[in-house]
Assembly symmetry: C2
Homo-oligomer: 334 residues x 2
Amino acid sequence: MGTQAREVRLKSRPEGMPKPENFEVAAVDLPDPAEGQALVRNLWMSVDPYMRGRMYDRASYVPPFQIGEALQGGAVGEIVASKDPKFKPGDLVESMLGWREAFVAPAAMLTKLPQENVPPQAYLGVLGMPGLTAYAGLLEIGQPKAGETVFVSGGAGAVGSLVAQIAKIKGCKVVASVGSDAKAQWLKSLGVDEVVNYKTCGDLLKAVQTAAPNGIDVYFDNVGGEHLEVALEVARPFARFVECGMISQYNNMTAQPGPKNLIYVVGKSLKIQGFIVIQFAHLREQFLRDMTGWIKDGKLKWEETVETGVENAPTAFLKLFSGGNTGKMLVKLS
Amino acid sequence: MGTQAREVRLKSRPEGMPKPENFEVAAVDLPDPAEGQALVRNLWMSVDPYMRGRMYDRASYVPPFQIGEALQGGAVGEIVASKDPKFKPGDLVESMLGWREAFVAPAAMLTKLPQENVPPQAYLGVLGMPGLTAYAGLLEIGQPKAGETVFVSGGAGAVGSLVAQIAKIKGCKVVASVGSDAKAQWLKSLGVDEVVNYKTCGDLLKAVQTAAPNGIDVYFDNVGGEHLEVALEVARPFARFVECGMISQYNNMTAQPGPKNLIYVVGKSLKIQGFIVIQFAHLREQFLRDMTGWIKDGKLKWEETVETGVENAPTAFLKLFSGGNTGKMLVKLS
């Protein structure tokens, strides 16, 4: 008895903005699990901006996706059959084997989900990679102090919306930029002090200067480009720039000039630091404890934007680049 | 009895590259020192690239120079007369009251020089501000580990030549860039592994890639511009960029675009950090102990480029921007 499952493969490498035709859906027959393996049916999968980088054919901290092969990414699923003593049918597990409805894999590639009072897809967002990215990036690199001003771009995204709330929990003034009035309203409802809609505000520099008249101490960068230049301009001496992402640049066909005021890194003694979330893996326990505590206390909230069906995973992914998500972008698989 | 002394004043704010006519020499009559003051005859004064920034009329971590007033900067001098018990005639002192032949000032503005076996002007270079800049910038921000590769631009300058040698002392491979073959020869004689003459090497990126085929772990930036873009290109993951200065940009009339590959800060998890030397004032004792030890052991050497007479201080300053100095640029005043 075999199991059939659909998966999404990279059909061709995108040039510039990815298009639906760069992806293809294929059906595969799964073998029965061998000794030490399990069969998993994915319930939810994640799409994240960093995946765009893996679509280029270049060396990086994760190898590139291969044409004709299924894409990969965070997913949560349910054990259907197991030939490993660590898992039994019904167990909820996390893996990096998203972009497919089901799979057979060695038990070592699966992590059992903790038993917290949250839905399983929370482990792809607030309690997963985006959550740890926000938590560790802000606290370890940004080092915000109570009373300081934190500016976060992509403020309504999976990471940005958590950064904004954690900064509030830490006693900071928070300025966020977003791309729609609905997102702005959501962030205001979460207690964010000032929200700038960068698409309608006119002069972004003036808008941020008005929102943060005394400047900023931390900039959590999800977008790069003009936002980064504005942040350099309004940065106070010794400000910390958490370089989480530069989504505005991911689909450039040619390299774009950097900010014309980068010299402020010298004149204002700034720190501009990138990171990858796995360097903070040692903080996972503290992260889960803090985050679940804040969730229970009602201090930390999140949104999900959901597409349904593995065939719509490319659509979900593409929406990341047009601001089509509020909070975590997810694909519901079964 | 009065003392006459000449001083150099800012006559007009430079636009672009400073010119001799932006400066003027004036003679002033010094009063006798009052209670708690001392009369100091300067022996040596320092010119440093950061002084260009103080010639702009803008807020910064040090206030701008004022038109019609004497410039300021590091100087070492000798007490001529003192009405403060802390100083007696003949004492050697350091102050920020350079750009003048002599001055009367409160004792609190003077620091007695330690009694080390070095000439007094060493406290304007290897054992002074440039020395601490090199030492603390490299070790605290760059955090070089034995076996790593350190790239330093402005490698034959007051700071760069010390960075190169300290990195060697710490067991690193050192690649330096300089602007003349004579400077390159000097650095090679100090044990620097690879030296690139950026004026004659042709493609700077290729030259640095050849000198550091496995990439760089630390970039000590004194120049900015193309060098910074090259360093971003050859940086290994988690490389540290010590942003000491960007002398190639200090005389720009209009802001220039930043490096077109700044996105590597995200993709390679880089840290790009500026600093001011006073934030490392607490390291001064350890710095002096290490540096004097290395000097005694013959591991640390330095060069001086000397102009004579306060009227030639502007000439000395201008030479900083045309590569006219090897090692520390100084003005001998008496």
